[in-house]
Symmetry: C2
Subunit: 218 residues, 2 copies
């Protein structure tokens, strides 16, 4: 026979359950949005549909997300989780044991794999960033920043080691342009139905373009 | 004293007036959307606001546009009109009297000018194209096609004339990637408040990137 729980313990367990349920529900809503984005445009998806996919009622969504723009909040949370998982497995640093071509190829594989996994969410997130006035939404810019910083540092290192020409222009604007090009082209090729061959061609073409923009003949 | 009009004449004049009013109203709605896009995101703009800007009631909008997605129809019509005006003034052909750098510089000036004029509409149109499943909306792809075709032809001609290296890869995928990069970068730099210097830097950087992607050392 277990002793009766103290009221304090009961309250704390119940708070824990409630926090765990909250996280579980949020993940279910994110997954539901991801599933819906495989077949529908973000703007055509209703909060009711996202709720139904997570097995909860429309009104319960607002227990977990604000009522002003719940759908965008779910999208943002889903992207945060995907980017966190991506950042945990990729190494953005230019390693001393690889040449610069291998480094760029490795990052392109990461980005292409990320699009194959999460293309619906990424397309919706990029659409949101195109719609924004004045600047990209901070949460999107925040996810791009580590890529931009790592690539800038890699370009400087490669220039220092004479792996790239030193006089090809300031690194940061070149890197910003490159990242925009890579994400745009991945969207254009990978959002549509595509073959393994399309993906290989995309990778090869992007690698050539990135290296050439940085002044390397190839 | 004017003679009484025949019923047939009256009917035909009235049909003409009605067609003219229709076109005028559509232009007013497009202009209203354009004005609103200078300060708000496409998704945050309501049909009621677009109607108010054109001086008509919400319900009258549906006399001129379908009730399923009137806002997108107005956007599409506005873009059609802007692209038509653009195409009437630009010469997409690579001329015999200019070198390839001048040709690319000229097209970049046209595109940058177009963004400065119509950036709000273009950003919303590109967001729509990012949201689309499977492929870009046909109306957007239709506007891009003449640029893609003209650039491909120019690249082939420049290769033939030894103005570009012949072995830099198939022209069309390179050109598609270039156009995506140019539009994305114009969006990123020109949608935010920017100086004349930002614009000059953008132009210079894009010109260098385009030429390098096509295999020209610069």
């Amino acid at each position: 026979m277990t002793p009766p729980e103290s009221p304090r313990l009961r309250r704390s367990q119940s708070a824990e359950d409630s926090a765990a349920r909250r996280v579980r529900r949020q993940l279910q809503l994110q997954q539901s949005l991801d599933d819906l984005l495989r077949h529908k445009s973000f703007r055509d998806i209703s909060v009711t549909e996202v709720a139904a996919g997570a097995g909860i009622s429309h009104s319960s969504v607002y227990t977990y997300y604000g009522d002003r723009d719940a759908k965008t909040e779910i999208l943002r949370d889903a992207m945060d989780a995907r980017f966190a998982a991506l950042m945990a497995r990729v190494d953005l640093r230019f390693g001393r044991m690889e040449n610069f071509e291998e480094y760029i190829g490795r990052l392109l594989d990461d980005i292409i794999g990320f699009w194959e996994e999460s293309g619906g969410l990424l397309g919706a997130a990029m659409a949101t960033s195109f719609e924004a006035k004045n600047a990209e939404p901070e949460w999107w810019a925040g996810h791009m920043a580590p890529w931009e910083d790592a690539l800038c540092e890699a370009v400087e290192e490669a220039r220092f080691a004479d792996l790239l020409p030193k006089d090809a222009g300031p690194a940061r604007p070149l890197v910003q342009m490159i990242l925009g090009m890579v994400f745009k082209r991945c969207h254009d090729v990978l959002t549509a139905p595509h073959t393994d061959e399309d993906r290989s061609e995309l990778r090869e073409l992007l690698q050539i373009a990135v290296l050439r923009i940085l002044g390397k003949a190839c």
